[in-house]
């Protein structure tokens, strides 16, 4: 897959504070990339540099092949941005905001109107399209911002905490739309604090701490990579002596809790294969088998724990 975002040694300092310190990563075409980090880690600054809102002090960014410093207009023409804080014009109606975006993105009037109708209907705002945005709830404003970002059918979408503080209905509506957009080929760069959201949505996540990237991988691989010793919970339909299990390849320890065995293993794959082979050899069925990998929350906390007091 070609890279849609290529950040190389991205650096930004505010006075003596280095907010982003030689950050490099790539986002591939068609993926949902989650960008995670504690408050003040440099997520928003990185996103602002990627979108050309603030200049970088060092490094380079290519968006869809365009250098964001040298060809910002061409790059911006092909992506959309949903910031954390709603920034629609509150003195304009939703429709007027969308028409303004249509003109700024160079859409002809008919196309802008058709897209606006479709998006407002999808996002449940069509009936209130002629109301000034200042009368909208937070969720409605956020949905409008999403519509404004999608009006020109961007190939790449940047979202900064898109569901932060929203009601369940707005959150679900936005998440469903993001999945549909991604299924249709839109690459998504998602900054979020919500680990569950990142876990469910993202193909890969990057974790930033103190302006530096500390991990980039698929959520499941990060979860398994975080612990050298893996835990597996297994139960069989018959009685087994503990020493039989601990002698199996890949298994380093066993402990019985109720009708289940808690297995520790250095190599999870080998241990599971051994357990399956063992059950077959002993003529027993495996009733349950769970890999107890850490949650993405635990991964995040582990990788960013130096930040915590």
């Amino acid at each position: 897959m070609p890279a849609v975002i290529e950040a190389r040694d991205l650096t930004k300092a505010f006075g003596a504070v280095i907010a982003v310190d030689h950050v490099s990563f790539e986002v591939r075409q068609g993926e949902i990339f989650g960008f995670l980090g504690p408050n003040g880690a440099g997520k928003t600054t990185t996103t602002r540099m990627l979108t050309g809102v603030v200049p970088m002090d060092g490094g380079s960014v290519r968006i869809l092949g365009y250098d964001i410093r040298k060809e910002p207009v061409q790059a911006k023409q092909r992506f959309g941005v949903v910031p954390e804080t709603s920034n629609a014009y509150v003195d304009l109606t939703a429709w007027q905001n969308l028409m303004l975006m249509g003109e700024i993105y160079g859409l002809d009037r008919n196309r802008a109107e058709q897209r606006s109708c479709d998006l407002l209907q999808t996002l449940g705002l069509y009936e209130r399209r002629d109301q000034k945005v200042q009368g909208y709830s937070k969720g409605m404003k956020q949905r409008l911002i999403l519509a404004m970002a999608l009006l020109h059918e961007p190939e790449l979408l940047f979202l900064d905490e898109p569901t932060s503080g929203l009601d369940v209905q707005s959150t679900q509506m936005i998440l469903v739309l993001l999945r549909e957009l991604n299924a249709d080929g839109t690459t998504i760069f998602l900054t979020t604090h919500n680990m569950e959201e990142a876990n469910r949505l993202c193909d890969r996540v990057g974790i930033i701490r103190s302006g530096r990237i500390v991990a980039i991988d698929a959520p499941e691989r990060l979860k398994t990579a975080i612990d050298r010793i893996h835990r597996i919970e297994v139960s069989f339909d018959g009685e087994i002596a503990g020493d039989l299990l601990s002698g199996l390849a890949g298994i380093t320890g066993t402990a019985r809790t109720g009708d289940k065995w808690q297995i520790t293993a250095e190599d999870q794959d080998t241990a599971i294969r051994s357990l399956v082979a063992f059950s077959r050899q002993e003529g027993m069925a495996i009733l349950t088998l769970n890999t107890l990998a850490p949650s993405l929350d635990e991964v995040f906390l582990r990788l960013t724990e130096k930040e915590r007091p």
């Binding site: 602002r48 910031p83 920034n87 003109e103 404004m148």
Partner: protein, 251 residues
Amino acid sequence: MNPAGTSEQVRRAWAIAKKDIRIYYSKGPVLIFGIFMPVFLFLAFFMGGRQLPLAFLLSGLMGMTLFFTSTAVSPAIFPWEGQAKTLERLAACPITIEAIVLGDMIASILFGIGVTAVTLLIALALGLSLLHGIVLGSAVLLAAVCFSAIGMLLAVPPTNVPSNIMMLSSLLKFPLVFISGIFVPLEQMPAWGLALAVCSPLTYFTDLVRYSFTGAHYFPVPVDITALGLCTLVFTAATMHLHRRTMPRRM
């Protein structure tokens, strides 16, 4: 379509101008301020017993009207939008900083010309005859661009607190009115006053307006036009250049 091309950016600047007119200029208080402020200044001098001819004072009124209206709102747009984060939205859109500034200038130019047209009607209603309509039209257009550029230049300091900019704006605008031969004819000014007056683009515009109504002028018309044109070029180039430098600091 080349989104970075000049024609496309000018189209997008026009979208910014329409947005500005809708949000900032078509508000009652702004219109009232734009019209009343120069009228009250005019009345203060008209009734001040200085026995200045009506044609002189009405020419000054037109100069003030165009100057105040063209610089009334534009200095505060960037601070307002910086505060509301809408400027960040524009910064993430495929529009150059120059096109955003141009859009703000276009709105300011149209507002200035519109309100000045009302003053012109008042002048005609009070019996003044327009001798040189083409000169007046050209002068109004050129000066509106020049004053709008000055308005945008006042918005260069990267603060998102509108009151700071408005204070700076008043500090610069009012002295400029008093050194520009609006209330004191250039012929009656002391040498130091005249030295200040030649530095103000408002001086040349007022001189052209007086010429348009009375046929009398202090500087030759080509000098007035050239000076106003040069000021327009310098201020426009400066505002574009300086906003490009300071815009990121507003984010």
